[in-house]
Symmetry: C2
Subunit: 408 residues, 2 copies
């Protein structure tokens, strides 16, 4: 139904009773304007962490089924409270849990995958004029077990409902006014992007922009559900995440991201590169270390250098594996740098505009910043640099690509 709108409210948006009051007022206005509204809520800010801490009091790794049973109460409480707030304002409404919709998932407790969302009950209640409030982050298995969908899972609940209900839009209300051209904490000029494609959003999310969960963007892309990311604290338009259009291609770079959670390992002067590289990466894979950027080049001596980055929590384990490999040849050197930053420029327009990489390298060079490794996709360029220059690099690139001014 074209008239259905799914609105998701994150933890800070329902963080206090006053905030829940404000959201009920907003939903009331939308409902009176004739919209059919499904409101998906997260747990009140801090509540999920409080519940996890309770569960972990007894053991560092509580059984996953029981932990889901426990933490799913967070969303149940905020859903119940929002429905009560709506009813207290004379707005017909009811709250539903994952198993009451139902939102069916597999049995992968803690990180469950949604198998299907049955739309009938929600549609019936929307048709009878109610605002339907749904506890996010949770689902139910075929056997009636309560599951949770992993961090950011309420976004996924909202998009899955939008798909099942054929909603016209899924609005993600958060505590920031949209998806930014760069982290506003680093770059004072950063502003909310007006419009962005699903693929750009996926790149931004995987590169450290925390505003939207990747799985929910993938799902929205598959079913072409427009997402609107906006603040519940003001009336701005926020960011539209939607299918590609002509406007988007005109924008060479939509945003600059900065990921500071990796470390860099270089193995230099490998004598037998093919064999050595195979040995290195199969060793890392066995240790279940996720390798991100990989660069291989040949020095003037004809020997091979390999540089790669890994999440900082795997850094020591990865370094030990590389060092073990180096022992087999006395000339092989290991260079370790546990604090690096990966600065990325993302934009659909890169496909049609050449020279983006060149402009990126020039900008960094002008600031005296060495690029240790590069990785690219068709809409993204990432440069690995010394962590000390991360803020400087973000500001310089934000400026160089003209992101401070409104372009789309």
């Amino acid at each position: 139904m074209k008239n259905i709108v799914v609105q998701k409210y994150g933890g800070s948006s329902v963080g206090t009773l006053d905030r829940i009051h404000a959201i009920a007022d907003r939903l009331g206005r939308d409902a009176r304007a004739g919209k059919k509204i499904v409101a998906v809520v997260s747990a009140m800010a801090g509540e999920t962490d409080r519940l996890l801490a309770l569960g972990r009091h007894f053991t560092p790794q509580p059984p996953a089924r029981e932990l889901d049973f426990l933490v799913s109460t967070g969303e149940q409480i905020s859903a119940g409270l929002l429905a009560i707030a709506l009813r207290s304002k004379g707005i017909p409404s009811l709250a539903l849990l994952g198993h009451q919709v139902p939102i069916r998932t597999d049995r992968n407790f803690g990180e469950a995958q949604i198998e299907f969302v049955a739309p009938h009950r929600v549609k019936d209640r929307l048709n009878s004029g109610e605002v339907v409030v749904i506890a996010g982050f949770q689902g139910v298995t075929e056997e009636g077990e309560i599951t949770t969908l992993g961090r950011g899972g309420s976004d996924l609940t909202a998009v899955a409902l939008a798909v099942a209900l054929e909603a016209s839009v899924c609005r993600i209300f958060t505590d920031v006014p949209g998806v930014f051209t760069a982290d506003p904490q680093i770059c004072a000029d950063a502003r909310p992007i007006r419009k962005i494609s699903y693929d750009e959003m996926l790149e931004l999310a995987s590169l450290g922009a925390k505003v939207l969960q990747s799985r929910s963007v993938q799902l929205a892309k598959r079913y072409q559900i427009p997402l609107q990311v906006l603040s519940s604290f003001d009336d701005g338009e926020g960011t539209w995440v939607q299918k590609e259009d002509r406007d988007m291609e005109k924008t060479v770079v939509s945003g600059i991201t900065c990921d500071r959670k990796e470390g860099k390992i270089s193995v230099r002067h490998l004598p037998d590169p093919v064999h050595a590289a195979e040995k290195l990466f199969s060793g890392l894979a066995e240790a279940q270390i996720v390798v991100d950027v990989i660069v291989q080049d040949r020095g003037s001596d004809g020997k091979t250098n390999i540089t790669f980055t890994v999440p900082r929590e795997s850094f020591d384990k990865a370094a030990a594996i590389a060092q073990k490999l180096a022992k087999s040849d006395s000339k092989t050197e290991i260079l370790l740098q546990d604090r690096i930053a990966k600065i990325s420029a993302v934009g659909l327009g890169m496909r049609s505009h050449s020279g983006v990489a060149a402009q990126m390298f020039q900008t960094l060079a002008k600031e005296g910043i060495d690029v240790a490794a590069v990785s690219t996709s068709d809409i993204k360029i990432s440069c690995v640099i010394d962590d000390r220059y991360a803020e400087l690099a973000v500001r310089a690139l934000h400026d160089a690509f003209g992101l401070a001014k409104e372009v789309n």
Copy 2:
């Protein structure tokens, strides 16, 4: 199965993480001793009130369905935590909600009646060696709506499960070491009763003993499930509530109770007693006032006096109804006493031992306490007295009936 034991833990018994630890240890010992254990838990002490206060922030009378949806999380949290604590000690266990058992109820949200408890899933898990932890106080309607069973509802959950599972006993763990011969706050000599019949327990519960919920005692009586009321804070035997036996009949009085939540109204010198009494009590019924003790007598002038007691919160309304009636005759007087105490002696042995009433009146008279009204059943005598003498009366009767010494 003879081997199944249902154990219910109240709010103070699961009030802290340390208490939950201690209960898990206790359950572990019972499980290793070969018992099949179902543990029913209340919300952690204070949690239900906290959730009710959250719900009532928006409106003094939140919609009952949404309030049940909200407050049922309290038991879900303690059930999840207890199952995690058990598993952390290597004791196989799982937690179940009302809708997962299922415990089916009618749609009377806030005070739902249990229609049936399906025993199969719980039995399967018991047979596979798990301690089954069940969230008390909650059930589910045919349509999948979450309901709650009213205050003290976790007792009812426990007894209903004991019935469905044909358990050999239902243990109610609380913060006192059993059902007392009198309120130990009033009477220093009071001690836990060792053994008591269902009917005596029902009288005690309805007369102000708060340790067990009446509905759960009725259910236990109907299916002859022995109840053991005991403390989770020590290792005492507590009180057995069970079917009548010879021992019990030897005990004339099992306990003395004191209910201070009523007021007394006397209407004196009614000219037309039949008509007036009908008018009075139909007026009270229309106003939905529950009348407790009623005494009617005829004075030396041939006119009728009626004395009755009502809950203190209905006192002003009841007094107004009586005063309206008195206006029709100038000789009719109204006497109001908003603070009275109803002191009761309860005991199976009253049936076979005469003279209990006489001993009760003598004892009170010796202390200079006037008895304003009396009501009796075959195992109970209640006397309405001035509230000021309540403690004195309880102590005197406790002593007169020899309750301080262990008799059964």
